[in-house]
């Protein structure tokens, strides 16, 4: 590792990754199907990320998706996100915008290129063709849009509510739906309503798309969750079983839904940061990262180098924290009781460092628009150095205790395996994708915040089974230690917050000197910054996969639409595929190895 230390990191050399767009994608598409009318987005919409974005008439959707998914050379094989926007109260409307917009964010791994397709819908005709046939993971995204906006996807196999309870009335992300309790009637639960709610809890397999028996067997239905020791949060899986073998399963999410996206529309750009911490609650500042990057991109703020390196360092610390917890709970799910306790001691040491930096432990909310909240404390380097020298020896012990344990291997090798193409089809990102041998890490493929200047490897597995998913994470921790060491040796001097009026809180040093600083400072602190109208998607390689914030600003103190694309949401959707034919015990090992956080799924 001494090699790393000698290497000088200089973020001045760092370049932000640019999406390759040499051959305009629109030409490529129309060359295949000349009837497709792709209208580029207008300047009013001000899309500041470099993703090529187009408007499309809704009746052409299936034809375009056919081209994108199957007919293009190097097709768009990965459905990154599908979301909708209620445009009814938007001031800065582009010419194509009507009442609702459905936005498809697709990615081609081979091209390393994204594309954004937007469909405008009127409030009277909220119907659109489903794209489930093209991407398997579109299923849940479309259900979520129906749930949140009431947009109907025709030909969808199972269009029901996904996050809200089935008895819920209305669609919460509509602008007409109140965002504050004070805007609503007081909550009551009269007896008749209670009866309806109780009725709705009755389990009927047919409603879940499951059969009670086939010609040989009567199936048993096991309700795993929402409270079960191994579902890691409030998560329910309905299992259709033949003895102990799982015939089919239906994951049921939404128990942890807190309306984080809706809150984004009611919080100032600055005061939303603590909410992001609680999306993947094991990721800490990692959650702040894509959010502040997105706001900075919209506002045109350049973050100083020292802040960038500190951001990387603390994010990698949280990667270790999250992976250590995964490591321990994975072993515990298989029945090894002890590793988790040893790992908690390591986490405790690391949390002490985080606490020294930020004053908080799991949810520091420490990143700020334009930088970070405070500079590193005196003597920070000793704390970090001690830890990075301490952890590798502990990882060696765990290697023997967990990874080389033959019982753990017996339980996890070849269990819950999927191939790279299945992973892409289902939208798996992060360690779950790399465990299949497909080396795709946002930090390497699309470096952000100066990651291109760091020297680290991307660990991969080859089988894509539970064991490999654990293996990849364990190796990632060692790479994170490498990155932290490089941060330690090459920490640049300088400010930790950009000099820009829209940083939060803005620089105060000259407020008592001239009135032109005092007024913007006063306004930006009391109202919060007004971020220029525009649209952006920013993603990071978070602990569990790719986490992205899609922000739309309407030139206001609050976001017009905050869309959070989380990795765990996609991962859980894959569960039925993984669990068919497994024993219950295998399912528990698989659940452990997927490493999801329910807050990350439900938001």
């Amino acid at each position: 590792m001494t090699k790393d230390n000698s290497q000088k990191i200089n973020l001045a050399n760092s370049k932000n990754w640019q999406m390759p767009n040499t051959l305009p994608i629109a030409d490529e598409i129309t060359a295949i199907n000349a009837q497709l009318l792709l209208t580029p987005v207008t300047a009013v919409e001000n899309i500041v990320d470099d993703i090529p974005s187009f408007w499309l008439a809704k009746d052409q959707l299936s034809a375009l998706m056919q081209v994108l998914r199957h007919e293009l050379d190097k097709p768009f094989d990965f459905c990154f996100d599908i979301t909708a926007i209620d445009e009814t109260e938007r001031n800065h409307k582009g010419i194509n915008v009507i009442d609702f917009t459905v936005s498809y964010h697709l990615r081609s791994y081979e091209r390393n290129q994204d594309i954004r397709i937007k469909i405008a819908l009127t409030a009277k005709d909220k119907h659109l063709n489903s794209v489930c046939a093209f991407w398997a993971n579109a299923n849940w995204y479309e259900r979520e849009i129906w749930d949140m906006f009431g947009i109907v996807f025709d030909n969808h196999p199972y269009l029901t509510r996904i996050l809200m309870p089935h008895t819920w009335q209305g669609h919460p992300l509509l602008k007409t739906h109140p965002a504050r309790a004070t805007e609503m009637e007081p909550f009551t639960l009269p007896t008749y309503q209670q009866d309806i709610e109780q009725q709705a809890l009755q389990f009927e397999p047919e409603k879940w798309g499951m059969k009670r028996q086939d010609k040989d067997n009567d199936f048993m239905f096991l309700n795993l969750g929402p409270n079960h020791p191994s579902v890691h949060g409030a998560f329910r899986i309905v299992l259709q079983m033949d003895g102990e073998e799982i015939v089919d399963c239906v994951p049921d999410i939404g128990y942890h839904h807190r309306g984080a996206e809706k809150m984004g529309e009611r919080q100032s750009w600055h005061s939303y940061i603590p909410y992001t911490d609680r999306i993947d609650y094991l990721g800490g500042v990692m959650n702040n990262f894509p959010y502040v990057m997105a706001v900075e991109k919209l506002a045109g703020i350049t973050v100083p180098d020292r802040a960038k390196v500190i951001r990387i360092m603390t994010s990698e610390m949280f990667r270790i924290l999250s992976h250590l917890l995964f490591y321990g709970t994975f072993a515990q799910d298989i029945g090894a009781l002890s590793p988790i306790f040893y790992m908690f001691i390591d986490r405790e040491k690391l949390f002490a460092i985080i606490e020294a930096f930020t004053g908080a432990r799991m949810h520091p909310s420490w990143f700020r628009i334009g930088g970070i909240a405070s500079d590193l404390p005196k003597g920070w380097d000793k704390l970090v150095r001690d830890f990075v020298e301490y952890l590798p020896a502990r990882l060696d012990i765990y290697e023997k205790m967990v990874m080389q344990n033959s019982l753990i291997k017996l339980r996890s090798v070849d269990v819950g395996a999927y191939t790279a193409s299945e992973a892409i089809e289902w939208g798996v990102t992060g360690p779950g994708l790399r465990a299949t041998g497909y080396s795709w890490d946002l930090r390497k493929q699309r470096p952000y915040s100066g990651y291109d200047q760091f020297d680290f490897e991307i660990p991969t597995g080859n089988k894509g089974d539970c064991y490999d998913r654990c293996r990849v994470r364990v190796d990632e921790m060692r790479e994170s230690i490498r990155i932290i060491k490089q941060c330690l040796e090459n920490m640049p001097e300088g400010p930790v917050k950009a000099e820009h009026p829209q940083t939060t809180p803005p620089d105060k040093s000259r407020t008592m000197v001239d009135i032109d600083t005092l007024i913007p400072h006063f306004v930006n602190v009391s109202w919060g910054p007004v971020i220029p109208a525009g649209e952006v998607t920013m993603a990071v390689e978070a602990t569990k996969g790719i986490m992205a914030y899609h922000l739309i600003s309407d030139g206001n103190t609050m976001s017009y639409r905050t869309r959070i694309r989380t990795p765990s949401f996609a991962h859980l959707q894959m569960l039925p595929l993984l669990s068919r034919g497994q024993m219950v015990a295998d399912l528990i090992a698989t659940l452990g190895s997927v490493d999801y956080v329910m807050a990350d799924v439900d938001r």
């Binding site: 102990e244 799910d333 029945g335 017996l410 219950v584 528990i588």
Partner: protein, 323 residues
């Protein structure tokens, strides 16, 4: 008459000691596991937390004695009693010292095997009577696991019977005066120990109650005193398997000279048993659990051949007069 009264007193004393010992074991285990896992474990109630089990007992006694309305009530109540009583019964044939021991049954070993076989009813009936799916799965696992491992347990001790020519446990101990049976019966001991762990369903063979899979398995619906009886049964059976290992393979109270004269036989016996109990506890902290089908195939494909081989080899060597 006096003899009968004396026997009754002896039985009462043994039971009166065994139950607190099992309760203490809960504390010993939690504290030991705590120390092994770099934590403290329960250390607040009394000196070193030694009264933790008392506190637990008081709490359990204070709990509502709840019987789920959907359960089969009679069987539901009966199951924990079976689980605890069958294990307690087994202690009747254990020779603790040259003079202490409830009964010198001449089929002592068979009685022990019979009682462990009966103990499975407690678990299976609990799983069945709870009328809950998790409990049922746990009970099902327990039935399959215990019934298979019983076979190997029975076979593994046959070597001992061959060598000592007796089913009477006291005679088996006495036959080890010239050397403990572990010298020749190490394979038998290995199979016996593993089968014993499986019979007492402790980690790594705790599949009937695997909490990460089946929440609490067969005792999911149990609480209060009835749960405590299962708990007691489990710790008693840890003690029982340790006791039997010592009796059958490690010379019971016997120790070679000069060690034997240092401490009374009873103390040696307790020390040996404590050693195995600790081994059980350590095992729990260090191993994950296999899957249900893996456990069964391990039993039938590895343990059964081993046990049979041990029996044949012992018989052959015995016939040849080598041992």
């Amino acid at each position: 008459m006096l003899e009968v009264i004396w026997k009754l007193i002896e039985m009462t004393i043994i039971i009166a000691l065994l139950i607190p010992i099992a309760a203490m074991l809960v504390w010993v285990e939690r504290r030991m596991i705590g120390i092994w896992q770099d934590r403290l474990g329960p250390n607040r109630v009394g000196p070193f937390g030694i009264l933790q089990s008392m506190a637990d007992l008081l709490k359990v006694l204070g709990k509502e004695d709840w019987i789920p309305p959907f359960s089969d009530k009679v069987v539901f109540v009966l199951a924990p009693v079976i689980a605890a009583v069958t294990v307690l019964m087994s202690f009747a044939v254990v020779p603790f010292t040259p003079t202490i021991g409830v009964s010198d049954l001449n089929i002592g070993l068979l009685f022990f095997l019979a009682m462990t076989s009966l103990a499975v009813y407690g678990v299976v009936l609990a799983g069945w009577a709870s009328n809950s799916k998790y409990a049922l799965l746990g009970g099902m696992r327990a039935a399959a696991q215990t019934v298979s491992y019983e076979v190997f347990m029975g076979l593994s001790v046959m070597g001992v019977v061959l060598l000592t020519g007796s089913f009477n446990l006291r005679e088996i101990v006495l036959a080890q005066q010239d050397g403990w049976l572990i010298q020749t019966q190490f394979l038998g001991f290995f199979v016996f120990l593993i089968a014993g762990i499986a019979e007492s369903h402790r980690l790594p063979f705790d599949l009937p109650e695997a909490e990460t899979e089946l929440t609490a398995g067969f005792h999911t619906e149990y609480s209060g005193l009835k749960f405590a009886l299962f708990f007691l049964g489990e710790y008693l059976s840890v003690t029982l398997i340790s006791t039997m290992s010592v009796t059958l393979f490690f010379g019971g109270w016997l120790m070679p000279e000069p060690l034997a004269s240092w401490l009374p036989p009873l103390v040696w016996f307790i020390l040996k048993v404590a050693f195995f109990v600790m081994f059980f506890i350590l095992l729990r902290t260090s191993l994950p659990r296999p899957r249900f089908d893996q456990l069964l195939s391990f039993g039938w494909l590895v343990m059964l051949p081993l046990a049979l081989f041990n029996l044949l080899a012992t018989a052959a060597l015995r016939l040849a007069g080598i041992i």
